[in-house]
Symmetry: D2
Subunit: 339 residues, 4 copies
């Protein structure tokens, strides 16, 4: 959008890292359910008076956003998936803050609302949506119910490994983009991986191999095909189940059958197989982004002139490293998708 002083301003503001824990005690068997969410909200609005002048009348205070998260969490009397909560919040922010009319006199001097007014100088009366888009990101911590002597505990939880993430972008029109993900899924296999016949040039030292460790920390996010708030499945905890199923497909494809595994000729190929397996299996997933750093476990080969083979690598002793790491990422989407 255009701006006073010949500058264009694109902005967002919000509240990040709003943490909320929610307990539901409704189980008929006395069991408690618990989630811990870390919520970040960004609101996009056309009105820029707070940038261009000392005028905060268009700003929803980020403190108010924080309060809203707690009020809404309270209002959710029944368990819901983190995806549903993100949509619910996004929907609230887009619908609660009404459009405001701004007289042309204000516009004249500042001309900060180009998109809404279309014409620049002839406008008489324009209106400006306080909030036209809300972007809600939530990270759900992996609190898992513990088992004591093989029985699930009614109110005891232990932190697991990888996080469940969600990003819901909700428009005032009800249009929705919904992306779920898993973050920090660290996987490793001790064999059935190689890398050979790549480009060799004068900077190349790495030898070809058909036997190496393969370790990565999968960060995956998949976009659902639901394009409006109204169209999402009404089935209870639908997205929570889906999350578990997608994670299972990713892991099954990475590892292969329990006895034989599956050979990985490159991280690229394995990534492709993982992503395409998810798209094949879940018709309501429109695309998937996979970020799979190649976390190197270097073969150890100590040697000196005096001791030509102090430790000679035989696929047994490795040096794990965090840096540098190969970075491999790709987005797979259906060709028919509009993405």
């Amino acid at each position: 959008m255009a701006a006073g002083g010949g500058l264009r301003v694109e902005q967002r503001h919000g509240k990040a890292r709003v943490r909320v824990g929610r307990v539901w005690r409704q189980g008929a068997d006395g069991s408690h359910h618990f989630v811990e969410w870390n919520v970040s909200i960004s609101l996009l609005s056309h009105c820029l008076s707070s940038y261009h002048r000392d005028d905060n009348s268009d700003i929803v205070a980020t403190d108010t956003m924080k309060n809203t998260v707690y009020v809404k969490a309270k209002e959710c009397g029944d368990r819901l998936s983190v995806e549903e909560f993100a949509i619910l919040l996004g929907n609230h922010f887009c619908s609660f803050y009404p459009q405001v009319y701004i007289s042309s006199s204000v516009i004249h001097s500042a001309c900060y609302s180009l998109k809404a007014c279309v014409c620049t100088h002839l406008c008489f009366l324009v209106y400006c949506y306080k909030v036209y888009t809300a972007i809600v990101n939530i990270i759900e911590k992996p609190w898992e119910r513990v088992c004591i002597d093989g029985k699930p505990h009614l109110h005891g939880f232990k932190l697991g490994s990888e996080n469940h993430t969600v990003e819901a972008t909700v428009q005032k029109s009800g249009a929705l983009t919904l992306t779920s993900g898993v973050a920090g899924l660290a996987l490793l296999k001790t064999t059935q991986s190689g890398f050979e016949k790549f480009v060799r040039d004068k900077y190349t030292i790495l030898p070809d191999t058909r036997e190496r460790m393969l370790a990565t920390e999968v960060n995956a996010s998949w976009r659902y095909s639901y394009e409006s708030v109204a169209s999402i499945p009404k089935k209870e905890l639908y997205f929570s189940e889906k999350f578990m199923e997608v994670k299972k497909v990713l892991m099954d494809t990475f590892f292969g059958p329990p006895e034989t595994g599956v050979y990985s000729p490159s991280v690229q190929r394995t990534l492709y197989l993982m992503g395409s397996a998810v798209l094949r299996r879940f018709p309501d997933v429109a695309s998937i982004h996979l970020k799979m750093p190649n976390i190197h476990f270097l073969p150890v080969n100590l040697s000196t002139k005096e001791n030509p083979s102090m430790v000679k690598f035989k696929d047994d002793v490795y040096l794990p490293t965090d840096e540098p790491h190969g970075s491999i990422e790709a987005t797979l989407s259906r060709i028919t998708s509009k993405m």
Copy 2:
């Protein structure tokens, strides 16, 4: 680009967190110069055979990329800015790896190179650029020359506060996008900040104030207007100096004059003034992105029914918090820019 199995694949691969230290000992006065860079490289190429088949013949091994960083650092006999090094690396990767011709028979079965071949099934001979874009990100650590008794030390350095970042995107054509930035610039003022007359609704608790702390950690990145590798200024260490100057303008605007400061009616307004000052001052900066979380220092006000005013806030005792924080970000650009 299109892909076998009805899937579209967008991908990049590279090497992240390649660390390099470089010493130049050329000073006539015996002084050493030193930089420490953390380099991440992403290469984009049309060829997707490594994804679609067990064929790595198009992959530049990330280990080779790492080696290249060291060879190039060695070849830089004279000091250079981190921006120049990023461009130099990007240029290398785009020009060193030549196009390859792929016969139609290969294409026929896989059809993985749609963009290059245009037609899908009638192609006879297509060529495929191994690398058409290189994205190089570097973080320069703030090693600063120490002074001993007021004199600069010839070879002694101490780590300072905020990092210098750069992202150079280089195309095979020589087209360039160059963005410099500062990361982690933590600033705070104890007065001359307020926030009032914002939207009040039923979720609002925050009172209006004209007296509060203002603390933030500025993450800024500005895009230079140079659009090709050939057009960047030849002046030695041009971008290193520019970095210092931009940082100074950002800080001067945030703080205002040393005696009086400048009143901030909102983080939004202060952000806008900082960004527009940079654009006004530096003609070769096309746009600037500022991310300025509002890191809250909450007034402490302990009270109980028995002790109605145990600690009553008088602009003196605060609770600093990391979470939640307000998140305010915006991009300012010249309206004439093509961005």
Copy 3:
């Protein structure tokens, strides 16, 4: 020990964060075993010439220590517990580096080896142990074998939650102190916790409660009673099993029975019960240290004058916080122990 210049010097040097991955492929069923260890070594020696003079003749280079870790990992042809590997390393460093004789002339001027020589100025020939104590700390990452469709995978692993730690202190004499631990075991229960009838004074605001969340991140370390390298149990993977069992006792005691749980009147009381359960159950554990921060989940209670009960806490909506946190720690030991 005494030192030239009237200064006493107590020192240690070593190598920290030596990472090693070890694969064993010996399984009759074709299964691989894998561990990832992060090893830190500290050596204590009487000789201080490297501190007092420009003389490194007593220093084992930390690079050599690193190499030794890899050589020893290689030499371990059979799986072993992280405790056994720590002892093996400690033993090596204490026995491999022999005592050295130092002529009195050297001693005369420096007198840096008081403990070994006893007399200060009359000594004729003293000997100095290069290394008299080795302290080996290892963190084992929680790589867990994955299951695919209910069957354990032969070579696939996934990162779990909490780390296994060990500290072995080995003396030249063979004396041993062996401590195992679990780090980062995050536990939470949604009820069966309270805190009441504590000291109330004019700084107290916290109300009594019999219903609150209880969350903590247990860091436990327990010292085994084996006092020499020779006396440790020979049973294969003895300490690996013990680690799992101690962790189970800690968790069982924290949570109580799956249906009813157990009421916690304070973190202190719960900590005590956990520690004493371990000591009661495992005769070869001499003492246990438990560090259990009280990670607060604060009841949310938003209210303003206008909205006196915007969100009223009913044991359902909480604000999880990282800071501040209560810090509670204690060591429990048998009265008969020599500790």
Copy 4:
């Protein structure tokens, strides 16, 4: 102290990570002063009823400790050093919570207060100090006054590099142990460092060198000789100045003269010179602990059979590493000190 069930319990509890910001606006010139402290408190007390029984009557709630920090910060109307604030807090906790008398009947069954009662079963009336020792740790963030155009700003601050730490241990008797420190002081020199003539054995690969980079992150803490709260210097901001001076001596010794530097034959030797310079210079420093990891900058030497010298090291291109690192630490103290 002894305990029911044949267990000995040593315990402490407290509040960690209590953050407080304090502004003083008293400057005659209108200048503001500002500090940000992160306070952790541990209280030691003989009474163990909260561990042995469901009885919290001896516990000072950690929430109360937190409140106390804010009340005390408020009461400090004049600027004071972080050391003084730590002592002030420690003193408060030891003197505010009075001794309590416990009748023998209570003792009889539990016998949890051995130290106070001396006799075990014959005791008639014992008393128990609620708090006999307070340990206060504070980290002061390096907020530094900014200069605008060469003039110090009245209320603007920027975050610098290394933290100032303090640990004050205060006894009910008024006895004091006071330790100040600097954390995260990262230093580097590009020459004037070597390492040679160390122990060579069959695990040694590292070559001798007289030319290498030397980089470290100094963590230093020094104990002052003041042994009671009453004996500390009354001079305003005494310890704040001392902190700056000690840091200067450490840095001056590490780097040597600005033109020539000083040769370091080992980290050990340099550490010793730094510590002894502090002890020599400051009579009221009784001892100093220095932890100086050797953060390696490895010479880069890429070579293959085909390219025997792709990048040959000539003291110019290095690989900086975080792990592994050499760990060197030592405590230097005056021989006459009681430590």
